[in-house]
Amino acid sequence: MNGSILRIENLTVTVNGGKRILNNLNLNIDYGETHVLLGPNGSGKSTLIYTILGYPGYNIENGHIYFKGKDITNLPVEERVLMGLGVLFQHPPKVQGVKLKKIVNICGERLQKMIEMGTIDLKEPLIKGCIDLDDQTKKLAELMKFPIEFLERDTNVGFSGGEIKRSELMQIMALRPDLIILDEPDSGVDIENIELIGKIIKELLQIEAKPINRIKAGLIITHITHILQYIGKIDRAHVLINGRIACSGSPDIIIPSIMKYGFDECQICVLTRGDSECGENKK
C-alpha cells in the first residue's frame, strides 16, 4: 500500500504554560513501514507520542498531524484510536478495579467496531483459531507466558516492568492498529522475555511479509537499541534532539553511529552540521 499513514508537518508543541518541547518537527511514515525514533532523555520523545495521541496538556502552537490522510490535529484521543492508531506505553497508569482480562477484551471489541466502521481492513476480528473474545484473551495470555489467573489482576497494579510490556502487547495484539507507536518497548524487560517481545512486535508490524503486502506501520521510540536486533529490518531511523528531527536516514548508518558516539555527537552534529558518519543531513 502506498502513501503516508502518518505525516507530521511543522509541529510545535508547548507544555506547562509555554515551555516549548517540540520545535517545528516534521516526520513522515508510509503504510507498511517501520521507523525508529532515537533520542536522548528529554529530547521530546514522550511529548511526541502524547501529541500524536491527542492527550490534553500538549498545546499545539503550530503545525498539523495527518493520519491516513486526515487532519487529526484536533481530534479526541478515542477517535484517533478508532482510526487505527495504537500505543504501547512505557509507563501506563494503574487502573484499580479494571482487570487485565476486561481491558484486553475491550481492545478486541474495539477492533470489531473498527472493522464495522471500515477503518481497519480486516475480515476477521479474532485471531485465527479463537472462538470468542474470552478465548482470544486466554490464548494471548498463554502466548505471553502469563498464567490464566494473571488475567484477573487489576491492570498494571503491582506489575513488573516485563509484565507491563507483555500486558501492553496483549492489548495491542487484540486491537491490531494500523500504526503502532511503541514507547521504549524493551525498558525493564528481562533477557528471557526480550526475544519474545521482539518476535511479537515483528509479527504485529508484518516485518517479514513481502513489502507489497505490508500495511501495518510502526514507530519505535527508544533511547537504546537492544530490541531492534530482535525486530529485524527497520525502514528508517530518525534522531530527535531538542524537539526537532535532527537527522533521518538509514538505520544501518545512524544506529551504529549512535552506538559508537552516543547522542552527544548528534548534538554536535546538529549544532555544527559538521563531519558525521550519519549520511543524509550532512552538509
Binding site: 490534553p56 497508569p93 487502573v95 475491550i106
Partner: protein, 414 residues
C-alpha cells in the same frame, strides 16, 4: 430466659419507655409522618402469577421468580406477608415471624435477645405494632448443601412505614445462604423502612447474608441488625446500595463470642442524588482466635453524603481485625466521611485499618481512551470495577450467583 418474657406485652412495656429515645447516629426521623395502614390484600400472593409491574422490582433485588436453585421464599408487602414457603423444610424452614412465635415456644428466647427492644425509638416502635411482621429462617442442625433462601420486603403504599422484625438461627453444623432485597413498589416514592434483624449462629455453622437495597429518593431507612456468633462460626455479609435513598442509617454489630468465630463484611455503596447515607459495621472480638474484616467501597456521586463507619473491639486472645474503607469521589458536590475505629482491650489482639478517598485519575481515563473508549465509557468501567464484589471467600456457585445479582442491581440502578 424466664417464661415471663414469652409474650409481647413484656417487651411492649419496655418499648413504651423508649419511644422518644433518639438514636445516637443519623438524623432523627419523625416516624409520625408515615402511616402503618395496610392494603387490604397483598398484590402478590403467589410467585406463579407475579403482576408484571412487580416482576422487575423483585428481580432487581435478587429474587428468582421461578425459585430455581432456592430453598424457600419470603415476600412481604408493606406490613403484610405476600408469599412465604419453604421448599426444603427438612433442612431449612422459613416462616412469617408471627406464625413462628406461635409455633415455636423456644423462639421467644431469641426475640429481642441480640438487640434490646429499647435500643432506640425505632426498635421500640417496631415492638409497638399490633401484629409483628418479618421472617424467621431456621437452618436445621447439620443442614448442609442447601440452596439459598430468598426474601424481599417492599413498600407498597405511598407514605407507608414498613416495620419488620427478622430472626435467623443457624443450628450447629449448618450452612445457610440468604439473599434478601429491600425495595419499593415502582409507584412508591416516599416511605420509611424500620427493620430489626437478629441472627444467631450456633457452633460450627455458617451464614452468608447478601442484601441488596434498592430504594427511592424519598425513602428513609433505619435497619437495626445484630449477630451473635458461637464458636467456629463464620458470618459473611455482603451489602449493596446502588440506588438513591433519602436517608439511611445502619450500623450492624457482630458479637464474636465463641472461639475461632469469623466475620467478613463487604459493603458496596454508590451514593447518588441527594442521598444521606450513614452505614457501618461493628465487631466485638470476644472469643480467642476470632477474626473480623470490615471492607467498604464507596462511590460519592451527585450531591450525596456518605458516612462509612467501621469499629472493631479486640478482647479475645489472638484476635484479629481489619477495617478497609476506600472511597472514590466522582462529583464535586459529593462528600465521603470515613470513620474507622479500632479498640484494643488486650495486648493479644491485632487490629489494623486503612482508609482512602480519591478521585478517578485523569491518567486512567486517558489510558482507557487510548484503547478506544470515550470519556463516559471509561468512567463507567472504572466505577463498576471499583464496586465489583469480592466473592473469593464464597463457594463457587454462590460466588457466581452473588456476582450476577449485583450486576443486575447495578444495571437497574443505572
Amino acid at each position: 430466659m424466664s417464661s415471663d418474657k414469652k409474650d409481647r406485652e413484656y417487651f411492649k412495656e419496655i418499648a413504651k419507655r423508649a419511644l422518644e429515645k433518639k438514636a445516637p447516629l443519623g438524623n432523627d426521623i419523625d416516624t409520625l409522618n408515615f402511616i402503618v395502614k395496610d392494603k387490604d390484600e397483598p398484590e402478590l400472593q403467589d410467585l406463579s402469577s407475579v403482576p408484571k409491574n412487580l416482576e422487575k422490582t423483585l428481580i432487581n433485588v435478587g429474587i428468582d421468580i421461578n425459585e430455581r436453585n432456592r430453598s424457600g421464599t419470603y415476600i412481604q408487602e408493606g406490613n403484610k406477608v405476600g408469599f412465604c414457603r419453604s421448599l426444603d423444610k427438612e433442612k431449612v424452614e422459613i416462616l412469617p415471624i408471627g406464625v413462628a412465635l406461635k409455633k415455636y415456644d423456644w423462639l421467644w428466647d431469641y426475640y429481642w435477645k441480640a438487640i434490646p427492644v429499647d435500643t432506640d425509638k425505632y426498635t421500640a416502635e417496631t415492638e409497638m405494632v399490633d401484629e409483628v411482621q418479618g421472617y424467621f429462617i431456621h437452618a436445621k442442625e447439620g443442614a448442609n448443601d442447601i440452596f439459598p433462601i430468598q426474601s424481599c420486603l417492599f413498600l407498597n403504599l405511598e407514605g407507608l412505614k414498613q416495620i419488620v422484625h427478622n430472626i435467623i438461627i443457624t443450628e450447629p453444623n449448618s450452612k445457610l445462604n440468604v439473599i434478601t432485597g429491600c425495595t419499593v413498589h415502582p409507584h412508591v416514592r416516599r416511605g420509611l423502612h424500620l427493620g430489626t434483624s437478629e441472627f444467631y449462629l450456633k457452633e460450627n455453622s455458617q451464614l452468608t447474608f447478601t442484601m441488596i437495597h434498592y430504594w427511592s429518593e424519598k425513602t428513609a431507612v433505619r435497619p437495626r441488625t445484630a449477630i451473635i456468633q458461637e464458636k467456629n462460626t463464620s458470618f459473611i455479609n455482603n451489602y449493596v446500595l446502588l440506588s438513591s435513598v433519602n436517608d439511611i442509617q445502619s450500623n450492624p454489630i457482630t458479637y464474636l463470642n465463641g472461639d475461632n468465630a469469623q466475620c467478613y463484611f463487604q459493603t458496596l455503596i454508590h451514593g447518588k442524588g441527594n442521598s444521606i447515607i450513614d452505614l457501618g459495621a461493628r465487631s466485638i472480638l470476644k472469643g480467642s482466635n476470632t477474626k473480623a474484616e470490615l471492607i467498604s467501597k464507596i462511590i460519592g456521586d451527585d450531591n450525596s453524603y456518605v458516612v462509612s463507619r467501621g469499629e472493631i473491639t479486640g478482647i479475645g486472645y489472638n484476635s484479629y481485625g481489619h477495617i478497609a474503607c476506600n472511597g472514590l469521589l466522582i462529583s464535586n458536590n459529593a462528600k465521603i466521611d470515613s470513620i474507622p475505629r479500632i479498640k484494643a482491650e488486650t495486648i493479644h489482639t491485632t487490629l489494623t485499618h486503612e482508609a482512602s478517598v480519591g478521585k478517578i485519575g485523569e491518567d486512567q481515563i486517558l489510558y482507557l481512551k487510548s484503547r478506544g473508549l470515550n470519556e463516559e465509557e471509561a468512567r463507567d468501567l472504572i466505577i463498576s470495577g471499583f464496586l465489583e464484589v469480592d466473592t473469593s471467600n464464597l463457594p463457587k456457585e454462590l460466588a457466581e450467583e452473588t456476582k450476577k445479582l449485583i450486576e443486575i442491581a447495578s444495571k437497574a440502578a443505572g
